[in-house]
């Protein structure tokens, strides 16, 4: 841990100007990603997880969007607020990105091979035919059968899973040090999802590449990630190792997400406990904790003041933005109870 982290994000704040007012989509997000690790950002629609990574890539439409504060450094170099030309130099080269919907993220009028080769031509200056040959090798690496024939086909001739493989091949063309995967398997079936997640994990381990995985599915996180950030209402509310997040959940929202999913292990007949209510309006974010109106343990201070991060006493990097974790907070027996059930089931 003595090396500086690969990616360091500090106080990232993103807003969108709309007719209805200013939406504060991301409200001061800090995280780091070390080389060679898979970090998952988990949260529900509208929590700001996609906006966070899109602002790193500089692909937020501005206007209406704007990054109002914060910094993001990749190997010490600032990513935010770059000129388009400077941004193009690292996008696709230093950071690769794969999107949720492979059907709409690839160009329908270009063959798959040409699209991958284009990345190599632009960033590496590799001439046409040679780039195309490299594209075929990349397609083979992502286990696309008959890669040579497939490279000359168009996106409509591919299935969803194959397109996602092609997009992974494209994003890895320049051996980026960081891969951002925004809901890469949400549109896929479980069997294909397992194949794609395994593929990402294998390639990540081979090249010691770092991965930021955006998802709303805790099961996908459990399968893939080493480190987790849970986002809610534009803020990270809990972060830590995957085991800390699952077995020592400290934030009631993380617990709420867990108990809203059916369990096939441990207590199988456990009923589903949906989180009541809905997330706060980000036009006028609440003064206190964003989760307080839905939280079964909310205290007065929760509504009045946004909690800072309280670190786990074991100093494992696990921390939660919750007043219940304050040294002088009352203890909540149920909280520990629900954690216990989860770890017993393992």
């Amino acid at each position: 841990m003595s090396n500086p982290p690969l990616l360091e994000v500090e106080g990232l704040t993103v807003e969108f100007e709309t007719y209805g007012g200013v939406v504060k989509a991301v409200r001061g997000v800090d995280f780091t990603v070390e080389a060679g690790e898979v970090m998952a950002i988990v949260g529900e629609s509208g929590c700001g997880k996609s906006v966070t990574v899109q602002s790193l890539m500089g692909i937020i439409p501005m206007p209406p969007g704007r990054v109002t504060a914060g910094s993001a450094r990749l190997n010490g170099a600032e990513l935010l607020g770059l000129e388009p030309k400077a941004a193009n130099a690292f996008r696709g080269k230093e950071i690769g990105m794969i999107f949720q919907d492979p059907m709409t993220s690839l160009n329908p009028t270009m063959t798959i091979g040409d699209q991958i080769a284009e990345t190599l031509k632009v960033h590496r200056g590799i001439p046409g035919q040679q780039a195309f040959e490299s594209a075929i090798k990349l397609l083979e690496m992502t286990h696309i059968p008959e890669a040579r024939k497939r490279a000359t086909q168009y996106p409509f001739e591919f299935s969803g899973g194959m397109l996602q493989r092609a997009m992974i091949a494209q994003s890895l063309a320049c051996s980026p040090s960081l891969l951002i995967a925004d809901e890469p398997t949400t549109a896929l079936d479980v069997t294909i999802q397992a194949q794609i997640l395994d593929l990402i994990k294998t390639l990540q381990a081979q090249d010691a590449m770092a991965v930021i995985l955006i998802t709303h599915d805790l099961a996908v996180v459990a399968r893939t990630a080493q480190k987790v950030c849970v986002m809610y209402a534009g803020q990270i509310i809990e972060h830590g190792s995957v085991d800390d997040i699952f077995y020592q959940s400290a934030h009631p929202y993380t617990l709420g997400l867990k108990s809203a999913m059916p369990s096939n292990i441990g207590d199988r007949e456990k009923s589903l406990n949906p989180i009541p209510g809905s997330p706060p309006d980000l036009f006028s974010p609440p003064l206190g904790c964003g989760y307080a109106p839905r939280c079964p343990h909310a205290m007065r201070v929760c509504h009045e003041e946004n909690p800072p991060f309280f670190k786990d006493s074991n100093n494992t990097g696990h921390a939660a933005r919750c007043w219940l974790q304050a040294p002088n907070a009352p203890s909540v027996p149920e909280l520990y109870q629900s954690n216990k059930i989860a770890s017993d089931g393992a």
């Binding site: 397992a194 099961a219 995957v242 809203a260 949906p274």
Partner: protein, 314 residues
């Protein structure tokens, strides 16, 4: 309550190209039962649901509702008649609600069609909106004013207001967030219990299907490979396809996930166009035997109510 015998739905794509979407499904759904139908995209599960309730014309086979044969092709009169008892909740809460109709018109349409007076319809809609967890004042709003979960509730209210006996839920939760999924599943479960409904719950989320349904049926390329009590199918799957499907299903438990081997099911579902004889899964099956690719396996009962269509159990 519901019974199908060798139900088939083929789509003629071209002169010599037939897409075998549903290829001989024999299934029974008992009264008050929730049957979960799972399978990958393209396995024909939605087509089965739609063919069953007359939204597609059957190619062959029989379908019965309470012992009474359903017509092969529904006429307008058939639709009106059966829609009193059979309803459907659709997958996409964005595409399945008419954006130019108010919630009152959407939810109340079924009652208005049956000649109910406007004031009475309004009363019923108000009752059902609160029943599905929406505010009755919302009835004058349009669909775009609601979130995905709220729209799905509107779709559920529209189906339930008729007080049907049998409801086909076609992927009702796949477009929703985790916490909202739980809300909608609990709502469906609650309505099923209080109204004595029979549900066909089509989904690809195996954990959710196991949770909600009494029995589970697994489809692969238009055929049923395994049916049985949900826990039996999920925790002791017998068909090689079901085994691989459940092995692929990730669990929210990092320690368990670390012990899992890499995915063994390679390749993708084959094309349902012009399928030949034999087991549909034989080309991807790790346990395939020579005769699997030319002999169609018959369903075999391996335990009470647990049926597998696989040559391994012959």
């Amino acid at each position: 309550m519901i019974k199908t015998l060798a139900l088939k739905k083929h789509f003629q794509l071209a002169r010599h190209q037939t897409l075998h979407a549903v290829d001989g499904i024999s299934l029974e759904i008992a009264e008050n039962e929730i049957l979960g139908l799972v399978g990958e995209s393209g396995s024909g599960k939605s087509t089965f649901g739609k063919t069953l309730i007359g939204l597609h014309e059957r190619t062959s086979g029989d379908a019965f509702y309470q012992g009474e044969p359903l017509p092969k092709k529904f006429t307008a009169a058939d639709h009106l008649r059966y829609s009193k008892e059979i309803q459907m909740v659709f997958q996409d809460p964005y595409a399945s609600l008419n954006p130019r109709m108010t919630v009152l018109d959407i939810v109340g349409e079924g009652l208005s069609l049956r000649g109910m007076a406007r004031s009475e319809v309004q009363e019923q809609v108000a009752y059902w909106l609160s029943r599905v967890g929406l505010h009755p004042d919302h009835m004058s709003r349009y669909p775009h004013e609601f979130s995905g979960g709220q729209r799905q509730r509107i779709g559920i209210a529209r189906a339930m207001i008729i007080e049907p006996k049998f409801v086909v839920c076609d992927e009702p939760i796949s477009a929703l967030d985790v916490s909202v999924q739980a809300q909608v599943v609990n709502l469906l479960e609650d309505l099923q219990r209080s109204m004595g409904l029979t549900l066909l719950f089509i989904a690809h989320d195996l954990s959710m299907v196991r949770y909600i349904s009494d029995r589970m049926a697994v489809m692969y390329l238009g055929t049923l490979v395994e049916t049985g009590p949900s826990d039996a199918v999920f925790f002791s799957p017998q068909h090689p396809y079901t085994q691989l499907l459940i092995e692929s299903n990730p669990e929210p438990d990092p320690k368990l996930e670390r012990t899992r081997s890499a995915q063994i099911l390679t390749g993708e579902i084959t094309s349902p166009v012009n399928v030949g004889p034999g087991c549909r899964f034989s080309d991807r099956c790790p346990k395939a035997m020579p005769h699997c690719s030319n002999e169609t396996p018959e369903p075999i009962a391996i335990a009470t109510d647990h049926i597998v269509a696989c040559h391994l159990y012959r």
